[in-house]
């Protein structure tokens, strides 16, 4: 096992689209072990996507069990070739990324998602994710399409109160 180097933006390799995993062999198992060690060594430690360590394959790891403030979660989940099948609800949340140090921003994510993905053995599984875990999954899945949370930033100041400027009616004569 090894801690792999995490690519940091502006490294252009983070903006590439990853390809589907085809071989569920021992090399894949070894890579997943390295990816997990890398995730646990990082500042967030709750999720990682293969493109973050310069592996252009559709592999994501999630594990929210170590959060200081516990949230409902599925434990350690390996998502290979994941496809979101349903989205529900929208919520603004503050995100950061191991590939974008020293910056956080507001991002809108679906509150509940259903997805299908292969596990490490290549067996298709279905998952229902919600809340914080759903946000983490969507953040990591974006990496598979070359997207960073920076691509989805919304205003830090306008998420609670949206103000419209209405034209004052003309004074009565």
């Amino acid at each position: 096992m090894a801690v792999l180097e995490i690519l940091r933006y502006p490294d252009a390799r983070l903006k590439r689209e990853a390809v589907a995993v085809e071989h569920f062999d021992s090399a894949l198992q070894a890579f997943i072990a390295d990816l997990e060690e890398t995730m646990r060594a990082g500042p967030g430690g709750i999720g990682i996507a293969a493109p973050q360590v310069d592996c252009l394959q559709r592999i994501v790891l999630i594990d929210l069990r170590g959060l200081r403030k516990p949230v409902p979660n599925h434990g350690r989940v390996v998502l290979i070739n994941p496809e979101i099948t349903t989205w529900e609800g929208m919520a603004v949340g503050r995100e950061g990324c191991m590939s974008v140090p020293d910056y956080t921003g507001n991002v809108i994510r679906a509150e509940r998602i259903t997805l299908t993905a292969c596990d490490a053995e290549g067996v298709t599984q279905q998952y229902d994710f919600s809340g914080y875990e759903a946000r983490a999954v969507q953040h990591e899945l974006d990496h598979l399409d070359g997207l960073l949370f920076l691509d989805r930033l919304v205003s830090r100041h306008r998420d609670l109160f949206r103000r419209k400027v209405y034209q004052e009616p003309p004074p009565a004569k």
């Binding site: 430690g45 709750i46 191991m98 830090r156």
Partner: protein, 173 residues
């Protein structure tokens, strides 16, 4: 030697100020860091971290044309701050109510007493001129949780205002 300055510009708001100012700054070889521009009561205001290697008098001279053109008020001061010193807020506070004097003083006094470090604050007067409402959004860091801090803030407001305090659940993926 390059040195960081805080450049503050205030004046009547017009389109094109940011472009004109930053073009002059670029032309004289300075580098921009963090900046915040906000329109307050129809006034343009911006604070810019500017890195410059020459005599600050020359920087002021370089801006003199654009200052005159847009009738801006300029303030330039040498600062000791640096980049990459972001502090991450863990709490988000929203206060609103019928506009009256004292809302900010009361609420922020309670924040200070409880060790709340304000990192970002925006306030606005909305509603109509006959029935104005005051809206304040604050982000900051405090070691106290919502359950402990919120009652103290509510107790500090002498007259009725709506106070909401939420945790910012940062997700680093």
């Amino acid at each position: 030697m390059k040195q960081w300055y805080m450049l503050t510009l205030v004046g009547e708001d017009r389109a094109g100020i940011v472009a004109a100012v930053t073009r002059e700054l670029f032309n004289c070889g300075s580098n921009l860091g963090e900046a915040a521009m906000v329109r307050l009561g129809g006034n343009f205001s911006v604070m810019l971290m500017v890195e410059y290697g020459g005599d600050p008098e020359l920087l002021q001279q370089a801006l003199s044309g654009v200052i005159e053109r847009f009738s801006l008020n300029l303030h330039l001061m040498q600062i000791s701050g640096e980049l990459h010193h972001h502090l991450e807020p863990n709490l988000q506070l929203t206060v609103y109510g019928a506009d009256r004097t004292g809302i900010v003083a009361e609420v922020t006094a309670a924040l200070a007493e409880n060790g709340f470090h304000i990192l970002d604050m925006r306030t606005d007067v909305a509603g109509s001129s006959s029935e104005p409402i005051y809206v304040m959004q604050i982000e900051g860091f405090c070691s106290l949780g919502v359950a402990e801090l919120l009652p103290r803030l509510k107790a500090a407001a002498a007259q009725q205002v709506e106070i909401a305090l939420r945790e910012i659940d940062l997700m680093i993926g």
